[in-house]
Every structure is written in structure tokens, then in C-alpha cells.
């Protein structure tokens, strides 16, 4: 054996002693102990912020979406920006749980469950926006889903917006099922650890009477693999289809074949940054630093760096294509983005997404929480602004100079944005308290000594 450079060694599953029972205790502790004051404070703050969402929604439904800042020419404002932002956040979870699973990246074990939960909650946040953008969501059942109706009118299946309906619902359903499939054995462990009958009942029902039978495991493992195999193209398709909302149109700055890969890379970029943002807090609050180690942060930040480079490449390519295409409107759209009324947003985007992440080339920025934390926060900001630049930056200057305008969000728009963050954080906080935030089963199965030294053969 040649000696391996330690920097190239695979990330260890856990740091320190690998005692399965202790690990189990560590993971289940947040679920089985009474929440601390800090958790209550965080939950209260997130809950209050989250209340803004239903409040603003009720106001919107009562008054109509005229209370949002949207109008001609910017008909897609914060709602669509937020939708793309949230659905993108979810993509990191699927990347970790599906793509890295297929690539046999063992380090994903410690963070997969948490990231998958993020996916599910981010999709929940994302679908609120287009749904309420329809104005009357109770009628939208007919506009979105091909339901038989007495007028004989059906959605247009050639519309990317209709593709979105199918993509979002499939993505949400498959992500939730994938997440739940992974949870079943852990819920069984929670059931068997539970002392209070109520907890026993709840986890007992949720774990579906899981008995860890070898027959069940064979089907389970196959199904898990299939879910990973299905989710991988699914996650690529979802953000591609989101990008079609723009790319299939004729608006300058949108009508680009670059959009699908550009959007997928951006989604994973922002999602991975969000995972880092939240998991750093989670691991210190619940004392899980030996499971989510600095090595994990290091690898995640490498993915952030790679996707940042992809996004930067797309920014450059957009400028190149605008010049190379010879299209006057495209050229105008690009120069208008950089120097027009929304130039400030563009430069925030470039700074946060393309320039600052270059610091991640430095090892200390990938590993030291106080250095990486502001960075990943700014990536989240930058990616939100990227969607803002795409949506508003293109719409406010369309073909007719007479209808040019300047978009300003109203307090309802801001309330919905803040409220969706509150909603998301509330769900994350509840998740950490009621479900195992780390997949104990997977962790145990990957520890040294957990597997027999030879395979069973038909002797």
C-alpha cells in the first residue's frame, strides 16, 4: 500500500469513538429531552415570523393580488422570485440524498436526513407562491390540474407553467416519500426507545410496525436505490422546467438555452449554502459535532465553490451570447442589467455568487465556522438576488419603451418573503425536535465492525 495523502482520504463517518449505542443516544437526545430555553426562543421567533405568512396571505386573498407590487410591465415580482429561490434551496437535499448516494459518497450519511427535510420544507414554501399568485387558489384547481369540468376546458400541456405543476407536485411527493422511506427504521428505533405511551403510539404508527426483517430490508434497500435513481434525473428536471418558465418565453434575457444547466447549478449552489447555514447551528445546538464534522463542512463548501464557478461561468456566457448573437434586444438586456436601474441588484448578485465564494479556495474558509458562516449567508442573499435580477431585471424593460417601469415590492411582498423564512425555520425546528435529524440506521450500518467481514455465500 502506498501511503495516501491524508487530504485525499475519505471523510470519516464519525469523529472519535464509533460506539453505535452512544451515537444513537446522541442523535435521539434532542427528541427525548425537554427543549432548552434557546430552542423555545428560536421557535417563538420563527413562529412569529412565520405567522406573517398566513396574515399576508389572508390580506392578499381579501383584497386581491393588487396589494402586491406587481403590475405592467413587471407581472412576476417577489412571488416568482421566492418560488424559484425556495425550490432551488430544496435541490441540495436531493443532491445529497440521491446523487451522492449513487456516487457512494459515504460522508453524506451524517447530513442527508437534515438536507432531505430541508428539501421537503423548501418545496412546501415554494408552492405557496405560484398557488397564491393565481389570485383565487380555490379555483386554481382547474387551472393547474386537468380536472373534468362542465366547461370542457383543460390546461395547456405545452405551457412550461403547466409542466411546473407536474414537476413540483412530483418533486414534492417523491422527496417526501424518499425522506419517509429513510425515516422508517429510525422511527422504529424511536418507537422502541420511547417511554411515554403517546410517543410510543406516534412513532409506532409512523414506523409502520417496522421489524427490521431481512426480507423487508432486501426490498427496502432496492427501493431506496430506485428512489435515488429516480430522484437524480428528477432534481435535474425540476429546475430545468423552472428555467423553461423563462427560457421558453421571448423576453430578452430569458430566451436562452443556457438556462436549464445554469438554473440547476444555481439551485445546488444556493441549497448547499443553506444546508451549511442551518447544519452549523444544528450541530452545535444539539452537540453533534462528532457526527457533522468540520470535514463535512469542508466537502460541502467544495461543492459550493464548484457550483459557484458554474454560476459565474453562466454569468460570463450570458454576456458573451448577448454579444455573439448580434441581437440588439439581448445586448440591451445585458447592459441594462449591469448599468440600468437594477444595477445595484446585479452587482450584489455578482459579488455574493461569483466573487466572494472564491475565498473558499482557502482551507480555513471551508472549515472555520466564523469564517464560512458570513460567506454562506451571503451566498443565500446572492442567489435570491440572482432570481430577482432574472425576473425583474428582464421584465421592467420589455420591447415597448412606453411600458417600461420600475418594480417596487409592497409591505405584503416583504411580509410574504419574511413569512416564508419563518415558516421554513419553524418546520425545521419542529423537525429537529420530533424526528431524528440524522439517520442513525445508516450511521450504524457504516461504522467499522457493523458489517460481517465476508459476504454470505450459498455454500
Amino acid at each position: 500500500m502506498t501511503s495516501l495523502d491524508p487530504r485525499l482520504a475519505p471523510v470519516p463517518i464519525v469523529a472519535g469513538p464509533a460506539d453505535p449505542r452512544r451515537l444513537e443516544d446522541d442523535v435521539f437526545r434532542p427528541m427525548e429531552s425537554f427543549p432548552t430555553m434557546r430552542w423555545w426562543a428560536a421557535f417563538g421567533a420563527a413562529g412569529l415570523l412565520g405567522m406573517l405568512f398566513p396574515a399576508c396571505i389572508v390580506y392578499t386573498l381579501q383584497q386581491g393580488i393588487g396589494v402586491w407590487g406587481i403590475n405592467r410591465p413587471v407581472g412576476w415580482g417577489y412571488a416568482i422570485v421566492n418560488m424559484v429561490f425556495w425550490i432551488g434551496i430544496g435541490h441540495a437535499g436531493t443532491l445529497i440524498s440521491a446523487i451522492l448516494f449513487l456516487l457512494r459518497q459515504r460522508w453524506r450519511t451524517g447530513i442527508a436526513r437534515f438536507a432531505e427535510a430541508m428539501t421537503v420544507f423548501a418545496v412546501i414554501c415554494a408552492i405557496q407562491f405560484p398557488l397564491f399568485h393565481t389570485g383565487r387558489p380555490w379555483l386554481a384547481a382547474y387551472w393547474l390540474v386537468p380536472l373534468p369540468n362542465d366547461q370542457g376546458i383543460y390546461p395547456n400541456f405545452r405551457s412550461p407553467l403547466e409542466w411546473d405543476v407536474f414537476a413540483f407536485s412530483t418533486y414534492g411527493a417523491v422527496s417526501a416519500l424518499f425522506w419517509y422511506l429513510g425515516l422508517i427504521p429510525d422511527l422504529a428505533a424511536a418507537r422502541d426507545r420511547a417511554r411515554h405511551p403517546l410517543r410510543k403510539l406516534a412513532y409506532g404508527l409512523l414506523s409502520l410496525g417496522w421489524q427490521g426483517s431481512a426480507r423487508a430490508w432486501t426490498h427496502y434497500e432496492k427501493a431506496y436505490l430506485i428512489f435515488a435513481g429516480l430522484s437524480t434525473p428528477l432534481v435535474l428536471s425540476v429546475h430545468s422546467i423552472v428555467s423553461f418558465d423563462f427560457a421558453v418565453s421571448i423576453i430578452p434575457g430569458w430566451r436562452s438555452t443556457l438556462f436549464p444547466p445554469y438554473f440547476v447549478a444555481g439551485a445546488i449552489f444556493s441549497g448547499m449554502a443553506m444546508v451549511a447555514t442551518l447544519i452549523v447551528v444544528m450541530r452545535s445546538a444539539f452537540r453533534l459535532r462528532h457526527i457533522v464534522t468540520d470535514d463535512h463542512l469542508d466537502v460541502m463548501n467544495k461543492i459550493v465553490l464548484v457550483t459557484s464557478l458554474m454560476v459565474s461561468y453562466a454569468y460570463i456566457l450570458e454576456i458573451f451570447i448577448a454579444w455573439y448573437s448580434g441581437s440588439l434586444t439581448e445586448r440591451f438586456a445585458v447592459t441594462n442589467r449591469a448599468f440600468g436601474p437594477y444595477a445595484w441588484a446585479t452587482w450584489i448578485m455578482v459579488a455574493c455568487n461569483a466573487v466572494l465564494p472564491q475565498l473558499l479556495w482557502l482551507r480555513s474558509f471551508r472549515r472555520k465556522v466564523f469564517l464560512l458562516y458570513p460567506l454562506v449567508l451571503l451566498v443565500n442573499v446572492g442567489m435570491w438576488y440572482e432570481r430577482f435580477v432574472i425576473v425583474v431585471g428582464s421584465l421592467h424593460r420589455d420591447y415597448l419603451p412606453t411600458s417600461w417601469g420600475y418594480y417596487r415590492p409592497t409591505w405584503v411582498d416583504l411580509g410574504l418573503l419574511a413569512g416564508s423564512f419563518g415558516l421554513f425555520l419553524t418546520m425545521m425546528l419542529l423537525f429537529c425536535r420530533f424526528l431524528p435529524a440524522i439517520s442513525v440506521t445508516e450511521l450504524k450500518s457504516a461504522l467499522s465492525g457493523a458489517q460481517p467481514s465476508r459476504d454470505g455465500t450459498k455454500s
Binding site: 422508517i184 421489524q211 450459498k458
Partner: protein, 418 residues
Amino acid sequence: MIDETEQTGAPKPFGWVGLFDDPETLLRAAERVRDAGFRKWDCHTPYPVHGLAGAMGLRPSSVPLIALTAGFVGLAAAVALTAGLSVWAYPIHVGGKSLFSLPAFVPIMFELFVLFAAFAAIGCVFVFGRLGRWRSPLHDSGVMKEVTSNRFAIVLEAGDPVFQKESARALLEAAGCHEIRPLIEGGPGVPMADSTEPHGRFGGLLWRFRPSWSPGLFKAAAGALVASAFVIPLTAVALPFIEFLNDMAAQPKGKAQMTYGRLFDPAGDGWMVDRRAPEGTLSRGGETYPYADAGNTLDVAKAIGGKIANPLPYTMENMKKGRKVFETFCITCHGARGEGDGGVVGPGRFTAPPALDAPQAREYSDGTIFHIATQGTEKMPPYAEMLDSTERWQAVQYVRVLQRAMNPKPGDLDEAKR
């Protein structure tokens, strides 16, 4: 212990459970059990143990095949959905382009492939993995608790043809198992460690009545599924008719096909919308009727008839206009010739009015007929709102024409000849 329970006849033995501490020994034991020819047995592990399926001699899972099939079913469903609706049910013509535009349907086809395959995969885990059984000897005896906290178990079921109490136990012992316990069906083999702990009455009750996997539960679940298959579409159909926040929908304006104002029953024939003007209203350019408050019985009409004279001369023009009025307003009940056989008259509909050419009607003065036309009588509604007095007088003249026409005199023919 199995013997004792058999003798008392209470709980039936389920089998033996052997507990292991490491996967290595489990794997070897599984091979021996497999070679001993057992069919009804299983291993229980906290996590998937590599190679265990081979050691147990399990066939490879059929989940991939089923998921793939379901995926293609989803694909076919997507083609049927998109093409069926876009080509036949609701074709949208855009610049003469093909209605069956397959490339545009690819995203939906892909999504439904994934969706169906995913549901099939998780359904397979549920069905083949025999999930949904909340009660089993393993749960009840507390063995499951040890398994999930990192022990490994082999269960040999008593129902297996090659199962014999002592030899099965000996097999487990020979395979290196040091902890072998009997499992009992339908009750705890060993008392549950914490079932006796006080947890409040409510929590204890809930746990006692946790669902068991029974045909009844299965039927209930299947029933709920089928019911939701009806309830969900019906709800979706009803949704557009439910107003959640009706600020925009409820506006003070009239809508077609809706009743406004109160309903009234003018003559006991049935409720109808009250379109009468409110008391004391006068239409623009309208006229007052001096006997409006006199009443509308026939006697009143006869009494008043003498007091009002017909202001219009009997001319051809007036009679023609009267005919127009009669054939617009009166004809529906009175019929074209005033015989009381109008279109709305009939069994189950409106009662036939008396014939206009009846002898007593012919004796009415013009004023009496005018009063009836103005105020209505018995079942006839008033027409003052719809016809002005000139029109009513003209109608009276046409009624006279009808009466005359329906009662010809012998000399009429001579007049016509001349």
C-alpha cells in the same frame, strides 16, 4: 416454557427467537438455518447487513421490475392525458401547428414516469416488507427493542413444517446463539418492561388500543382509500362553488337566473318572484288611476265600470293596436280568441280564465273590463305596470272585437256579401 403454555391452552407458541450480538455470527447462523430447510423464519437486524439475503437464500427483490413497470404505466398515462386532452377534448390551435406535439409533452411524461415508479417502489416496500403490522410477538415480547438498539435476531416460527421444539432450539445453539427465548402469539412472551409504568390514563389507553393488523383494519383502510377517491374529486368539483372570502364575488348587482326581492303567491297557484313596484311608486311620465284603492273583485269592477267611460274612439287603428297588446300580454292565458285556452293554461299549469265572450262578460261595460285589466281580478294579475291606460283601452276595444266576432249575428253574412 413452550410446553407449559401448550398445556394451559392459553397463548399459542409462535416460535423461538435467538439473539446475537454481532452480524458475523448471525450470518453464519442464518446459513445453517437455511441449510436445515426452514421456510418460515426471518432475521431481524437494526440495519441492512451485507450478504444476509444470500446467507438466507432469499430471492432477489422484485421491486425494480415492478417500479419500472409502474413507471411505464405512468408514461402511458401521461401520453393519454396530454394527447387525449390536447388533441381531442380541448384542442388549442396555434398557427396551424400539430395538435399532437410530443416534444412539449415530454416533461409531463417524464414526471409521471418518476411519480408512478416512486409510488410503486414504496408500495412494494409496504406490501412485500409486510409493514403495517403493529402487533407481533416480536413487538410484544420486547425483542424488537433489543434489535433496534443494535442486536440481531433469528426467529424460527413454530408453523414451519420442519420446526420441532427441541431440534430448532438445538440448531440455534449450535449456530452460536447464547440467548434463546420462546415467543408467544397474541401476548407478551416476557412482560413489557415499561407497560406497567404509570403514564396517565389517556396515554395508557391509547397504547392499549393501538391498531393491530387485522382484516378489519385493512378493510377500513381500503374503504377510506376508495372513499377518498370519490370524496377528493367531488370536493374539487364543489370547490369553485364555495366562497372562501367573498369580498370580490358578493357584489350588490343583479345576476342572470337569480331571484331578487321576496317571493309571493299571487293566487295560490305557486310562488313567483314579486316584481310589483313598491307601494306608491309612480313611473316616470306615468299616470295615476283614481280607483287604485277600490279593490279588484268583480263586483267592484262592475260598480266602477259605470263611472269611467272609454276615452278612445272606436277606430280601426285603435282596434289594431289593441290587437297587438292583446296578442302580447293577454293571449298567454286568454288564448287567441279569448276562449281561455292560452298557452300556459292546462292541467298542472295555470287555471283557465273564463271565456271573454261569455254572456255576462259581453254585458260588462268598457270601464269594467278596463278596471279588470288595470287592477286584475281573482287570479288575474294587474297590468297597470306594464301597459299604460291608452294601451289598456285599446285592448278593451279588441276584446269587444273578439266578443263580436265570436258571436256572429244572422245579418253579418249579408254585410260581408255587400
